[in-house]
């Protein structure tokens, strides 16, 4: 019976600051008007949570009756989530002011959502992971509909909610089947049960596994559970889109890897085939459809589907390099994707005007710094060295080759070649076309500039000096199996 309250300290800090933000918002809304204080308060919460997360332990530590883990894996993801939330707060500040949705609840929900993600990464049983997933998802359903006066935002929120609830049904059904056959929801006990029976052969357990793939596949936006992504990404406030393209995806992958490597690790042959097909479908559909998009948010939505596909490749490989490569790639993805969305926010106007790819024509002449940053992010996503995206893809594809999935790696490389087309198109439009519009007024504030700077530095740093982070990632996955 261990109830080490310190083990959930980051969660407590976030919850506390979330509520503090709500209270401060209510008490001072009239006086402050600008509500800058709320953003700083939430940032402080994120930073403090990150600091208390750092009391790292070399060995696995269980608490709450072994339902909660704080191993290096969980710590890595904690930092990852806090980083993404922090960056999103930085890029949100001026955006929500512009769109008149500057409510304190916005920051609070971001933090509550992060609590859910942390729980997903550290849950040692299926129940914790499920609750975490729900806390995360419901916060994001609300954030998606945050532009209450906009129909498209409401629609996106409702769609996401309905489909999310639907997918949750599959996930829960899967969990219950796993519980029914193994008699436990504890991941390690499931693992020992499965190993004791010489791998999973029981059809019901396999079906449970399949249904968990469906439920989590929905959250990581893998084809064919991806259909909500473009509509929801387009409808949601842009800063929220940035948030949900990184945080929940990372959290779902964290849960994915924890469940499938810890609990079902001994029989990965069964689930790898299914994920192989998902990976191929996800990469191909994401990249191919992205080509024909004209709205940048939709294009980034499909690009995020494609990136989920690359990450699934690493999951199929399921070797140390693949898993640590996933961790690395997720970190790189946070920098490049939030960076790209930050630029999208800076260049759009009230009511999300200026979201067409053609609106970026001539940016290179008018705002060279923004254009350079955007080029960097696009290059990184396309996987051009020496950006972070290249190194991530390098690790993932070489992991696939190492595990003998040469065909999958080739499909992956072909797909990333296809992706170069639509990423570079933005660069070409920025530098080689005459400007068609005035970019003023820019939605710019010191906070968003800081966010872009962090993203640029991160993208370059991970691309040029990847080995340090890769070492940390490799250390983080030791406790997974």
């Amino acid at each position: 019976m261990t109830f080490n309250i310190l083990s959930i300290l980051p969660i407590l800090v976030l919850a506390g600051f979330g509520m503090l933000v709500l209270v401060v918002d209510v008490m001072s809304a009239r006086k402050l008007g600008e509500k800058n204080l709320l953003a700083y308060l939430s940032l402080a919460g994120i930073v403090i949570a990150a600091i208390v997360s750092r009391n790292s332990t070399a060995t696995t530590l269980f608490s709450f009756n072994e339902t909660f883990t704080i191993d290096n894996y969980a710590l890595f993801f904690n930092i990852l989530f806090l980083l993404s939330t922090g960056l999103v707060i930085l890029i949100s500040h001026s955006y929500i002011k512009r769109e008149d949705i500057n409510h304190g609840e916005y920051y609070a929900l971001l933090m509550f959502s992060t609590i859910g993600m942390m729980l997903m990464a550290s849950g040692a049983d299926l129940l914790n992971i499920f609750i975490g997933l729900e806390v995360m998802s419901i916060s994001i359903y609300i954030l998606t509909g945050f532009k209450r006066s906009k129909l498209i935002s409401n629609e996106a929120s409702l769609k996401y909610f309905l489909l999310g609830a639907f997918a949750t049904g599959f996930l829960l059904y899967g969990i219950s089947l796993v519980y029914g056959t193994t008699g436990t929801i504890d991941l390690r006990q499931i693992a020992s049960f499965v190993a004791g029976k010489g791998g999973v052969k029981d059809p019901l357990l396999l079906m449970g596994m399949g249904l968990i793939i469906v439920g989590l596949g929905f959250k990581v936006a893998s084809v064919p559970f991806h259909a909500w992504v473009p509509d929801v990404y387009e409808g949601a406030p842009t800063a929220v889109t940035a948030f949900m393209s990184v945080g929940p995806k990372a959290a779902a992958f964290a849960a994915f890897m924890r469940i499938f490597l810890t609990a079902f690790g001994s029989s990965h042959y069964e689930w790898q085939k299914a994920i192989w097909i998902l990976a191929v479908l996800t990469m191909t559909v994401g990249n191919v459809v992205a080509i024909s998009q004209t709205n940048i948010k939709r294009m980034l939505a499909y690009s995020s589907i494609a990136h989920a596909g690359y990450l699934l490749v690493a999951l199929v490989a399921a070797n140390n390099m693949g898993v640590s490569g996933t961790l690395f790639y997720l970190l790189a993805y946070i920098f490049m994707n939030i960076g790209a969305f930050a630029i999208v926010i800076v260049l759009s106007q009230k009511g999300d005007v200026g979201m067409n790819i053609d609106d970026y024509a001539g940016l290179g002449f008018k705002h060279p710094m923004l254009a350079i940053a955007m080029t960097l992010f696009m290059f990184s996503m396309a996987g051009i060295p020496p950006m972070a995206g290249f190194v991530g893809k390098f690790y993932i594809f070489s992991a696939a080759i190492k595990s003998g999935y040469v065909g999958l790696a080739i499909i992956g490389v072909i797909n990333s070649v296809i992706s170069v087309y639509y990423y570079l198109r933005i660069t070409v439009i920025m530098y080689m076309k005459e400007p068609v519009r005035d970019f003023h007024p820019l939605t710019i504030s010191p906070l968003i500039v800081v966010a872009i700077a962090i993203a640029v530095v991160g993208t370059l740093h991970l691309g040029i000096f990847p080995s340090k982070v890769m070492e940390i990632a490799q250390r983080s996955i030791l406790t997974l199996r």
Partner: protein, 641 residues
């Protein structure tokens, strides 16, 4: 102190970043101070490193600093590390030292240019790349530096890109270099396949262990490919044509990149890989032949050119040929020694010519100069030092290094190498004094418009000239025969084969012992003969050149038009490729490839549009996909085998 080595790289990078990012908003003075300060500090650290190296015993003068591992996957390991040994420390001294002087010079020279910060940003970036090239401890890093200096060279040749000739020259340099780089890249890949590593230490250790037979096919191919890279970067036959055109860039750039540093990268690379090259006698012969041929060939073109910078450009090509000749006969020390002295006097000559051009408001044609001696005395005096140095009059720097190369060519190679080298030396002395006389002596042919603005350059241009003149005067004493400091210093890198121990060779008999002295006398004689010829033709009887040109009009035309090499290349490669590409474009590309590509692209796009149709916007359809996917996954997981 050796640990400071990364700072040498860091300072220019910081300078690039500052000038590149915010240079536009800074005042011109600040931009200049930042750029020069960066290189100056880098130079200071390079000196510290040099003395740090000197404190070590000679046989352990190798220091490697691992910076970070870039990517590691299986046996492939891409690490970034710096290597300090006598060779690279000498190179960084030259690069930062000469680079520093040229940076200072540029402040004055580029003062009126509107792309001031851009210029200094590129120049710092170039210095960084060049330092990376020489400091890298593996072939990959060297290649990155190699490509980066190529890029900077491209940017700086085309610095005045509004001028069509400048942007054409930049393009030409880039494309010609690409041919060489292709060979270099192939060579590196072959090295990785053969040795399973790309670290210098690993490769050279494996090569020197005797695992590879002397003259084996693999090592011959590797070294030939590496040499192909060197011919591109160092402007040797057949890839030299870009260098004379590269004179379209600002003159300090020509001094730094196209005389003192970048073009010597090929020599550095071969010297660095001396272990590999020594394993392939065939490649060594190729290197020596190409070097000797280039030395003579380029010098002969230089005889009749009228553009002051072009003469210097052909002279550079010719001098680089000497260095390759030295490497080709195995006298790497002599090659590197000449590299160093050449950096001093050629930078001096280029900067001097820049000063002349500056004084004449941009005039480069020597036929419109003359009599400038009294107008720009400092430039004249320093230029004279440089000219004497390159002509090879003792005790100036060029004498010692060139003499050593000729001696080595005679001792290790054969009489033909020596004869070719000596003839080229004669040409060199002639065309350099022709240049000097046409520019500074005789009657003024300057048009009156330029005459009005005629002025000596400002201090920040003349001081670097004076310092370089001192170096060109004294630099040779580092390699004085019999007590050569540079031989001893470089011997850990090149081993026993670096230079010939002729000086202590009493045992070889009196004939061998007095050979060096005989050689010195002969080469001095050759130089004086060349100078006298120039004096005869351009001061004593100025009508003589014209007569000669009429008499030997065929040869004169041939030389004046640079043997029509550019035209031949155009006819042989460029035009056929253009024609073939036109054909390919019209027939194959437009119809076949484009058809296919458009077909594939159209297919992908069409496929995308079909998939887009599935994006109906209805939740029930999306839910339908989920159920379908779910059934599929369950079937696959449960029943799939």
């Amino acid at each position: 102190m050796l640990n400071l080595i990364s700072l040498v790289l860091l300072f220019p990078l910081i300078g690039t970043a500052i000038n590149g990012l915010i240079g536009k908003k800074l005042r011109k003075e600040t931009v200049g101070y930042i750029a020069c300060g960066a290189i100056g500090m880098s130079f200071f650290v390079a000196i510290l490193v040099f003395f740090g190296l000197l404190q070590l015993p000679p046989e352990s003068r190798v220091f490697e600093k691992q910076l970070f591992n870039w990517i590691e996957s299986g046996s492939f390991k891409a690490a970034a590390g710096l290597q300090v040994d006598p060779l690279s420390s000498l190179m960084i001294l030259i690069i930062t030292g000469v680079g520093f002087l040229i940076h200072i010079y540029s402040i004055g020279y580029m003062h009126h240019d509107k792309g001031y910060h851009r210029y200094f940003c590129y120049l710092n970036l170039f210095t960084f790349s060049m330092l990376l090239l020489v400091l890298g401890n593996n072939f990959l890093l060297m290649f990155i530096g190699w490509e980066a200096v190529g890029l900077c060279s491209y940017l700086l040749i085309g610095f005045w890109f509004e001028k069509k000739s400048a942007s054409d020259a930049a393009k030409k340099a880039f494309i010609v270099n690409r041919v060489g780089d292709f060979g270099f890249a192939l060579g590196i890949m072959l090295i990785f396949i053969t040795f399973d590593t790309i670290d210098f230490t690993g490769v050279f250790h494996a090569a020197s262990q005797g695992n590879i037979a002397v003259g084996s096919f693999t090592v011959t191919i590797i070294t030939l490919l590496l040499f192909m890279g060197a011919t591109g970067k160092s402007a040797q036959i057949p890839l030299y044509t870009w260098l004379p055109d590269a004179m379209e860039g600002p003159t300090p750039v020509s001094a730094l990149i196209h005389a003192a540093t970048m073009v010597t990268a090929g020599v550095y690379m071969i010297a660095r890989c001396n272990v590999l090259f020594m394993l392939s006698p065939f490649t060594m012969t190729v290197v020596a032949c190409i070097g000797a041929a280039t030395a003579l060939f380029a010098a002969s073109i230089g005889l009749v050119q009228n553009d002051i910078k072009r003469v210097l450009a052909y002279s550079t090509v010719s001098q680089l040929g000497y260095m390759f000749l030295a490497c080709g006969v195995g006298a790497f020390t002599a090659g590197v020694f000449h590299l160093m002295t050449h950096a001093f006097f050629k930078a001096l000559l280029f900067l001097g010519s820049g000063s002349v051009i500056h004084a004449l408001s941009g005039e480069q044609d020597m036929r419109k100069m003359g009599g400038l001696k009294k107008h720009i005395p400092i430039t004249y005096r320093t230029f004279l030092v440089g000219t004497v140095a390159i002509a090879g009059i003792p005790p100036f720097a060029g004498f010692f290094s060139k003499d050593e190369i000729l001696l080595e060519a005679f001792v290790r190679g054969n009489f033909i190498y020596w004869a070719v080298g000596a003839l080229a030396a004669l040409f060199t002395a002639f065309y350099m004094f022709r240049l000097l006389i046409m520019t500074f002596h005789g009657k003024s042919r300057v048009d009156h418009h330029a005459m009005e603005h005629l002025h000596e350059s400002p201090k920040n241009m003349t001081v670097p000239l004076k310092i370089l003149a001192v170096l060109a005067l004294l630099g040779g004493f580092l390699g004085i025969p019999g007590a050569s400091a540079i031989n001893g210093f470089l011997s850990p890198v090149f081993g026993e084969h670096g230079h010939v121990e002729t000086h202590g060779a009493e045992a070889c008999g009196s004939h061998a012992a007095c050979l060096p002295y005989l050689m010195m006398v002969i080469s001095t004689g050759i130089a004086i003969a060349g100078i006298y010829l120039a004096y005869l033709m351009y001061i004593k009887s100025p009508e003589l050149p014209k007569k000669l040109a009429e008499r030997f009009s065929l040869i004169y035309k041939l030389l004046l038009n640079k043997y029509y090499i550019d035209e031949i290349y155009d006819a042989l490669f460029v035009n056929p490729i253009k024609k073939i590409s036109l054909l390919l474009w019209k027939r194959v590309d437009a119809q076949l490839i484009d058809g296919t590509v458009n077909g594939v692209a159209g297919f992908v796009r069409g496929f995308g549009s079909v998939l887009r149709l599935s994006q109906t916007g209805y939740v029930r359809n999306y839910a339908f996909y989920i159920v379908a996917g779910c059934i599929f996954i369950i079937v696959f997981v449960v029943f799939g085998k």
